[in-house]
């Protein structure tokens, strides 16, 4: 069955450093991958999307890479700030799931001042 793995442990990063979150998947060939941010008690908020034929996507301090050979996406936040502290979710979509998003469990990111 399709499986998505994200860093299960919380990630603690010093303010100003780059935070890197990992999303690995198996038994799936996604057409695209999306990253969302979720704050406690709130719904997920869309951040970035990357297609299967794209290697990298950037938006302000965010960068996403997508390696379909490794079956992995990396999500980077440069110059991290305490306000970046949240849970980050990756979600895959494609024909394999009839374009329903398959969600990872999320990684909790804590940026320390």
């Amino acid at each position: 069955s399709q499986k998505i793995e994200q860093n299960s442990e919380a990630l603690n990063i010093q303010e100003g450093k780059t935070a890197t979150l990992t999303c690995n998947y198996t038994n799936y060939s996604p057409a695209y991958l999306q990253w969302y941010r979720q704050d406690p008690g709130r719904g997920p908020v869309f951040l970035l999307l990357i297609r299967e034929n794209e290697k990298e996507k950037r938006k302000e301090r965010l960068k996403v890479t997508f390696d379909t050979t490794l079956k992995q996406s990396l999500f980077h936040i440069t110059a991290s700030q305490p306000a970046d502290s949240a849970t980050y979710l990756c979600a895959l979509g494609g024909m394999d799931s009839n374009y329903q998003l398959i969600w990872g469990a999320g990684t909790k990111l804590i940026i320390k001042p």
Partner: protein
């Protein structure tokens, strides 16, 4: 910016009672979703809805669950006879298109507590 709104924000219900969770999706969106998130766990897909019918549903979405779009604006999730294990955050989402690269837009959820 248009938002998905959900009501109530918190619902407390006795086990065995029926509960209806309400959502107002973004007005020009065509695809609607319900998700569940048990405290500390991953977001779980329940059901998707398009053109006034269910297009996909998960194993969680059994006969106790139903969805409806009664008036062209509201999108509801009904649980007929609630169980303790139904306690969770329920998120509604909407999307302009299913294919392609459109993101899903989420509401802030209803926290359902079954006593």
């Amino acid at each position: 910016e248009p938002e998905v709104t959900q009501t109530p924000s918190h619902q407390v219900t006795q086990m065995g009672q029926e509960v209806i969770l309400r959502c107002v999706p973004i007005s020009n969106h065509l695809y609607f979703y319900w998700y569940r998130q048990i405290l500390g766990q991953k977001v779980e897909f329940l059901v998707s809805f398009y053109n006034n019918e269910i297009s996909e549903k998960s194993e969680i979405f059994d006969d106790q669950f139903s969805v409806e779009r009664p008036d062209g604006s509201n999108f509801t999730l009904k649980i007929r006879s609630t169980k303790l294990e139904d306690s969770a955050m329920y998120f509604c989402a909407s999307r302009l298109q299913q294919l392609g690269n459109q993101p899903q837009h989420f509401g802030d959820g209803t926290r359902l507590s079954i006593l």
